[in-house]
Symmetry: C2
Subunit: 302 residues, 2 copies
């Protein structure tokens, strides 16, 4: 897991630019540039081997390719305007090209996003990269969490990974606990734009809650304390043990909820920002443990 | 070849949007959107199997990933400002990540482009998608060529494909005719920005001169006549037969020169825009032939 983040750190150091029109460069959910108006820019890709669960429909692939980018914009409080994609089709997917675009288009319509560019070619593996441009009233990064802030999430976590594990254990799609979370996650576009009015820090939870908490903690140079007894797990303990449920909630990805810190909590409050550094959890018995830096392994096959 | 263009047509029809802030949508080198200022947006990807010649250095891979996008912007007369990428690393390339970024960064510096976003993951094949944003004084698309315009290209064609064929026939890199054209093509950024002052239509030549001519002809609803005796071939006939040289010039890609129509020709004039439709060549014996719609097959292996 760390290796991906190490490479991102290498990139950040190598590509750092000091320019008046670059407000936020590489390293947050989005970059912010000033072209007269301030724009949020982001890019994210999905590909067959690591991001697509077995049985996903072409429309859902298109939905997902756009959703991961809209989620990044939402994580900064930006409203999406434009989207471009590159798609590499493998033999298996060529016949589904129009259905992939259909899924992309339907999600774009929902959030009034114009798809203005695309590039298509052929390769061994289906690969879609997306680029989204948004505008914001107030940009929220990961680096301004304040001591005393509430730590909040927009919804329940662990549903996508639970469903993925069920799928991989042989369950059919219809029998999964939360197929929608796995195959067609909804980016929190409206929520992000609204939360940005008051949040001090925000990010979308793509890899895991734990990683997102660590990122805010590190970039804001604060500590974060979360409380086990505030973590809602009923949606998971219906299917798995309590300890497994807690692990899924903290360390799995794919739900595309938002994590934010603010003095106003509109959603589920799981903790608070404290002095110091690091991310810790207060267990029900009162003991305090470190929250590990680990999460979604970027592979649906292993 | 046609299949890729058929898919682009499917995409254009499915994703067409009518919005005041979308000036040019899918279908040209760049999209143009209005966010208060007008921006040119483009996206292009390269991947191992189809775009990277044997023996290419990591720095050259990074250069190429940015160059193909800068070339698209140049083809519209736009000056590049910002660049984002997604990179999927295969095992073979992980150790070269910093060298890939170095090549990208060096080209970015040359044209004062800020690299503001990146996403990194792992897969079976090296894959880099790029996304570039530019500004322009005057946008030049493919659809406004005028009868009477001169048809011009910014430089000599066929050098990349000639070198690729030499490489594939067993020649070593040092002995290729034009290694620079194959491994490190230069996007015509300054030229595009300057030509845009007067050109009526312009595009970068990525697939082949023939395809670019057909695209301008179709989108502008004009005919194009080129003249064999104006086509410079000495740089190719040093290495291959005359007929092969002409074929390389017309039907191969990868040189990233610009094609434009204008009443001013700053570079090599090869023909003119005429009434009617289609692309034809006047041979030296006075006979007239159709120029075929064919070009670079998007594969370095076959």
């Amino acid at each position: 897991m760390r290796s991906e983040f190490n490479l991102i750190r290498v990139a950040r150091e190598m590509l750092e630019v000091k320019r008046d029109d670059v407000i936020v460069g590489i390293g947050d959910d989005c970059a912010v540039v000033d072209v007269g108006v301030k724009l949020a820019l982001t890019t994210d890709c999905i590909h067959e081997e690591t991001d697509l669960p077995r049985g996903i429909k072409p429309e859902e692939v298109g939905h997902l390719a756009l959703a991961v980018n809209l989620s990044d914009l939402a994580g900064c409080g930006a409203k999406p305007l434009f989207f471009l994609y590159t798609i590499t089709l493998s033999d298996r997917w060529i016949g589904d090209f129009d259905r992939i675009l259909l899924g992309m288009r339907d999600l774009a319509k929902k959030y009034d996003v114009a798809i203005v560019g695309g590039d298509t070619d052929f390769g061994r593996e289906l690969h879609i990269s997306g680029f989204a441009i948004g505008v914001f009233k107030r940009f929220v990064g990961r680096d301004k969490a304040k001591v005393g802030d509430k730590v909040c999430i927009t919804g329940l976590l662990g549903k996508a990974q639970l469903s993925l594990e069920q799928l991989m254990s042989g369950l059919s799609r219809e029998n999964l606990a939360y197929p929608q979370s796995l195959f067609k996650p909804e980016p929190r576009v409206f929520e992000g734009f609204r939360i940005a009015k008051h949040a001090n820090a925000m990010t979308d939870i793509s890899d895991s809650l734990a990683i997102s908490l660590h990122q805010i903690s590190e970039m804001s140079e604060v500590g974060i304390m979360i409380y086990e007894d505030r973590i809602p797990l009923n949606h998971l303990t219906k299917f798995v043990s309590y300890e497994k449920a807690l692990d899924l909630f903290l360390y799995s990805g794919g739900d595309y909820e938002l994590l934010y810190t603010s003095n106003i909590c509109e959603h589920v409050c799981i903790g608070e920002v404290v002095e110091g550094f690091g991310v810790r959890i207060v267990r029900k018995d009162g003991s305090v443990e470190d929250v590990e830096f680990r999460g979604y392994e970027h592979s649906v096959e292993s």
